[in-house]
C-alpha cells in the first residue's frame, strides 16, 4: 500500500513545531531539540518539504564573529495552509501541539 505523503508522525511533529511560530526562522538544531527528531531523520523531512514548496530556507549570518552562517527554515504560505489543514485532520498529533504553542 502506498503511504500518503507528509503523514508520518515525525513530519506531523515538525509541521506542528513550524506552525507554532510561523513567522520565525528556526535553525536545524533548534528544530531537532523541539521535535526530538535526530538530524538523520529531520533533514530528509526538511528536504522533502522544501521540494514540495511547503518550506523555505535561507542562510543567516551569525551575530558572533567567527561563527559560520547557519541555515534557517520556516513554512511558506502553502506550507502554512497545509500544516493548518493537517492540524484540523490530525488533531491528536498536530493540533494539540499547535494549541499548546499558541496558548
Amino acid at each position: 500500500m502506498t503511504r500518503l505523503p507528509n503523514r508520518s508522525t515525525q513530519t506531523l511533529r515538525l509541521l506542528a513545531e513550524l506552525l507554532g511560530s510561523p513567522s520565525a526562522w528556526q535553525h536545524g538544531y533548534e528544530l531537532s531539540k523541539a521535535t526530538g527528531l535526530k538530524s538523520g531523520t529531520l533533514y530528509p523531512i526538511l528536504m522533502r518539504l522544501a521540494d514540495q514548496g511547503l518550506l523555505t530556507s535561507k542562510w543567516k549570518e551569525s551575530d558572533h564573529p567567527g561563527v559560520p552562517p547557519r541555515h534557517v527554515y520556516r513554512l511558506t504560505p502553502d506550507g502554512l495552509a497545509y500544516a493548518r489543514n493537517q492540524a484540523e485532520s490530525e488533531p491528536a498529533a498536530l493540533g494539540a501541539r499547535v494549541s499548546r504553542a499558541n496558548s
Binding site: G28, S39, G40, Y43, P68, P69, R70
Partner: protein, 217 residues
C-alpha cells in the same frame, strides 16, 4: 570529559560531517552544508558525534535514492537475484546447523570431519540470526523490485544481522560450500555479479556529482 578526548570527538565529528558533505548528491549539497554548519553551535562532544552520524545517514540515504542505476528494472532484478542467492545460502546454513543438532546422520552427508567441528561450536542464537538475516534479504529483494526506496532499511538490517551472526565463525561459508546444488559455475557467477555491482556503485560515486564542490555557500 577530558580535554584530549573532547578535542578528539570534535575532530571526529567534523570529519564525519565533511564526509557527509562529500557524499551528498550535488543537488542536495547545500543541505549537507547546513547540517555541517549546525555543528559549530554544538559544544558537547557526544552531541556533536550524534549529530554528525545523523548527517552521514541523511547523506547516504540521499545518495542511494539518487543511484540512477536502480531506476532500471533489470538492474533491480539482478540485485534482487543476488540477494535471494545470499538468502538461500544463509537459510541452507541455518538448516544444516539445526539438522546437525536434531538429525546428525542427515547433516553428516553434507559435512566433512573439519566442518563438523565447526558446526559443533555454533551457538543456537547464531542459527536464529542467520535465518532472520536470510528473511531480511528476501524482504529487501522483494521491496527492491517493487519499491526501490523501501529496500534500504531491510538491506541494512540484513547485512548487520549477517555480520553479527558471522562474528567469530565462518560456518556459513563452510555450509554453503557443502550445498549440493551449488556448482562451481554458479559460485563464480555470483562473484561475477557482486563484482559488476561493486563496479557500478564505484562508478556512481566516481563520476556522478563527484568530487564535491568546495566551501560553504
Amino acid at each position: 570529559m577530558t580535554p584530549p578526548l573532547h578535542a578528539y570527538m570534535q575532530r571526529f565529528s567534523s570529519s564525519l560531517a565533511e564526509h557527509a558533505v562529500a557524499v551528498m548528491p550535488a543537488a542536495r549539497k547545500d543541505w549537507a552544508r547546513a547540517m555541517r554548519a549546525e555543528l559549530a553551535s554544538l559544544d558537547e562532544g557526544i552531541e556533536r558525534v550524534r549529530w554528525s552520524f545523523g548527517c552521514l545517514r541523511a547523506a547516504y540515504s540521499e545518495r542511494v535514492r539518487n543511484f540512477a542505476g536502480l531506476d532500471r528494472l533489470v538492474v533491480r532484478i539482478f540485485i534482487a537475484l543476488l540477494s535471494l542467492n545470499e538468502a538461500h545460502g544463509l537459510l541452507w546454513s541455518a538448516k544444516l546447523a539445526w539438522a546437525y543438532r536434531t538429525n546428525p546422520n542427515w547433516a553428516a552427508r553434507y559435512l566433512s570431519s573439519e566442518s563438523i567441528q565447526v558446526f559443533a561450536a555454533i551457538p543456537t542464537l547464531l542459527i536464529g540470526l542467520s535465518a532472520i538475516s536470510a528473511t531480511l534479504y528476501a524482504a529487501a529483494a522483494a521491496y527492491l523490485v517493487c519499491h526501490r526506496r523501501n529496500a534500504v532499511p531491510y538491506y541494512a538490517a540484513a547485512v548487520g544481522t549477517e555480520l553479527v551472526s558471522l562474528m567469530g565463525f565462518s560456518w556459513v561459508s563452510v555450509s554453503v560450500d557443502s550445498w549440493s546444488l551449488r556448482s562451481e559455475v554458479s559460485h563464480y557467477g555470483v562473484w561475477f555479479g557482486y563484482t559488476v555491482l561493486a563496479l557500478m556503485i564505484a562508478n556512481h560515486f566516481r563520476h556522478r556529482q563527484f568530487p564535491p564542490s568546495r566551501g560553504p555557500t
